[in-house]
């Protein structure tokens, strides 16, 4: 297979004139699934941003005479009430808001650290790579839940929102490790390619090469990872809620609503159905959007 190397002649991604991103946007807009998903994601984001305030019911009002009722038009409990008598639509809006926040914030943290770490380690190689990846190993080898328990219990704050931020940080701080490994793998595969060699020959500094040539070229898998990672993080949050460490009452999240719904699935299936469908739609949209972005950003499609 050594003839493979000789055949490689992929052009460098950053061309003059039209920028990479203009190009990508045009191609994204030609993909109907991605465009539809873009609208869905926008709609969901709006719902998350404004829903809790605009909806007729508050997320923490207890209706004492209407506990755990089925969906009804009466009093506009369109998804019924939960086992504490709170409106489920209001809780769903809030859950969506918090889950999206958790997913985005944690993914942003994971991506930033992970991509840079992985690209630098993979590109430089040798002892630096070894040290950087052993560091990842050390962190990786301490179970996720461990970090979270310590973080959640050591840093005691009076503010539930600060606690929430801690959850993001805890989750993001663990997820970047996977990202770093993936990016490093891609970078090792990339660094011997002609365009990188060419840049090196032209006197580009390693940092420039990493940012200009490696990072744009690993964006495909990175975007896939990110769109798949948001659901993973939303699920991780639901796991934390399952053991009582996630979002705290009276706040809620999609994962928490789903795990509560799972407990009620025999007697009140709608309590599972509504958040599960919301999650499904959110994730489907994120995925199609991610795929569209991947195709649009793919340097080989140009």
């Amino acid at each position: 297979m050594s003839d493979v190397l000789a055949d490689e002649s992929t052009p460098p991604p950053a061309s003059k004139g039209r920028s990479l991103w203009d190009d990508a946007r045009r191609r994204l807009m030609r993909n109907p699934a991605a465009v539809a998903s873009l609208y869905v994601v926008a709609l969901l984001s709006m719902a998350a941003a404004f829903g809790p305030e605009l909806w007729v019911h508050d997320f923490d009002t207890i209706y004492r005479d209407r506990v755990a009722i089925a969906p009804t038009f009466e009093n506009l409990h369109l998804l019924g009430t939960d086992t504490e008598g709170r409106d489920q639509v209001a809780r769903l809006f809030l859950g969506l808001r918090i889950s999206l926040l958790v997913g985005l914030a944690a993914t942003a943290v994971a991506l930033t650290i992970g991509v840079l770490w992985g690209a630098i380690a993979g590109f430089i190689g040798g002892i630096v790579d070894d040290l950087m990846m052993r560091f990842v190993d050390v962190l990786y080898s301490i179970p996720f839940i461990f970090f979270v328990i310590v973080l959640m219990t050591v840093v005691q704050t009076d503010n539930p929102v600060t606690n929430l931020l801690l959850i993001f940080m805890a989750i993001g701080a663990v997820e970047w490790l996977t990202m770093a490994r993936i990016v490093r793998g891609q970078t090792i595969a990339l660094r011997k390619r002609e365009f990188v060699e060419a840049a090196r020959a032209a006197g580009a500094s390693p940092l420039q090469i990493v940012f200009r040539h490696i990072v744009p070229n690993v964006l495909g898998p990175v975007v896939i990872f990110a769109t798949l990672n948001i659901p993973v993080i939303i699920l991780a949050e639901s796991f934390l809620s399952f053991i009582g460490l996630g979002v705290q009452e009276p706040l809620t999240s999609l994962g928490r609503l789903i795990s509560e719904g799972a407990r009620q699935m025999i007697n009140a299936p709608w309590m599972l159905f509504a958040p599960a469908v919301t999650m499904l739609v959110t994730l489907l949209a994120l995925n199609f959007l991610g795929d569209g972005l991947r195709d649009a950003l793919d340097p080989k499609e140009r």
Binding site: P143, F146, F147, V154, K192, F239
Partner: protein
């Protein structure tokens, strides 16, 4: 490559030491101790318990004591399970988690891999969309939901499979079917997506164009030429992920009432059973290091380019 492996293994010991030290210190930062319970024990007894386990010593002395025990192969007594040693508890839990995790990963690699290849070959056609929908569904329905649903259907409604547990006396394969499926679904989802993406990438590469140009049969192009390239990200992912699932899953082990170390770990962390927590961390870390090494070695076997590095 052997030299590389040996070098990495030699590196593993300081890595493990670093992990033990970090985990040991982190753990004791968390408030509450193993002996703070709903019912308070007499203060004199609590004092003696604290002394017995050396919890009154400065942290570096405790760590030194722990490492000393470790050097003798002694993980110490459990602080909550008073009749048992940590090593015994782990020995009773680890096999179930390992078998469960390994089975789920093997299942996921085959099913997820095959689905991913199928989706890549049939990109943007019905099969592709089907696989993607499956993958997304697999990710967003958490084991928390899938597990109970499978139990209700197969265990309660149809009575086909045991709903939970292992057998009373022997280790029965049939008891693993539902938990393995539940555990593998998210893995299948992730692997099929990764596989699809990297396979599409691989099929576009010049190497494959060359192979096709040579007139090789399509199946041979896919399986012999494209697959090894496409497997790289999967290998990167599967190494640590395997360690993760083999170290046990709290949700699966709780929902299916299985005696694995995932459940033991979370319970121990909640009860602040320091010695048991450290024991499981040690097992987990060793697994991770070994499987990462295995993944890296496989990477080198599969990727002709990195061999020249």
């Amino acid at each position: 490559m052997l030299a590389q492996a040996i070098r990495r293994l030699a590196f593993a010991i300081p890595t493990l030491l670093a992990i033990v030290a970090a985990a040991f210190v982190l753990m004791q930062l968390a408030p509450g101790g193993p002996f703070t319970k709903e019912r308070q024990m007499p203060p004199a007894i609590e004092q003696r318990l604290v002394e017995k386990y050396g919890l009154d010593l400065p942290i570096h002395e405790q760590l030194a004591r722990y490492l000393g025990g470790l050097a003798r192969g002694d993980l110490g007594p459990s602080m909550t399970y008073k009749d048992k040693e940590v090593i015994d508890i782990i020995a009773e839990g680890a096999p179930t988690s390992a078998v469960l995790g390994l089975s789920a990963m093997v299942l996921a690699l085959f099913v997820g891999g095959a689905l991913g290849v199928m989706a890549a070959v049939r990109q943007n056609r019905a099969q592709d969309y089907f696989v993607m929908a499956l993958a997304i569904g697999g990710v967003c329905l958490p084991p928390l939901v899938i597990g109970p649903v499978l139990q209700l259907l197969f265990g309660v409604e149809w009575g086909l499979l045991p709903s939970q547990g292992l057998h009373r006396d022997e280790f029965g394969l049939v008891y693993l079917i539902l938990p393995v499926i539940t555990l593998s679904l998210p893995l299948i989802a992730i692997i099929s997506r990764l596989m699809r993406a990297s396979m599409i990438e691989a099929l576009r590469s010049n190497a494959i164009r060359t192979a096709r140009a040579k007139g090789l049969p399509e199946a041979q192009v896919i399986w012999r030429h494209a697959l090894p390239i496409a497997l790289l990200p999967i290998v990167s992912y599967a190494g640590p992920a395997l360690a993760g699932v083999m170290a046990g899953s709290f949700v699966i082990e709780t929902v299916f009432q299985l005696p694995g170390i995932g459940k033991q770990f979370v319970l121990a962390a909640q009860q602040r059973d320091y010695t048991l927590v450290m024991g499981v961390v040690l097992v987990y870390s060793s697994l991770i290091i070994l499987l990462n090494l295995a993944a890296d070695l496989m990477y080198r076997v599969l990727d002709p380019r990195s061999r020249t590095a």
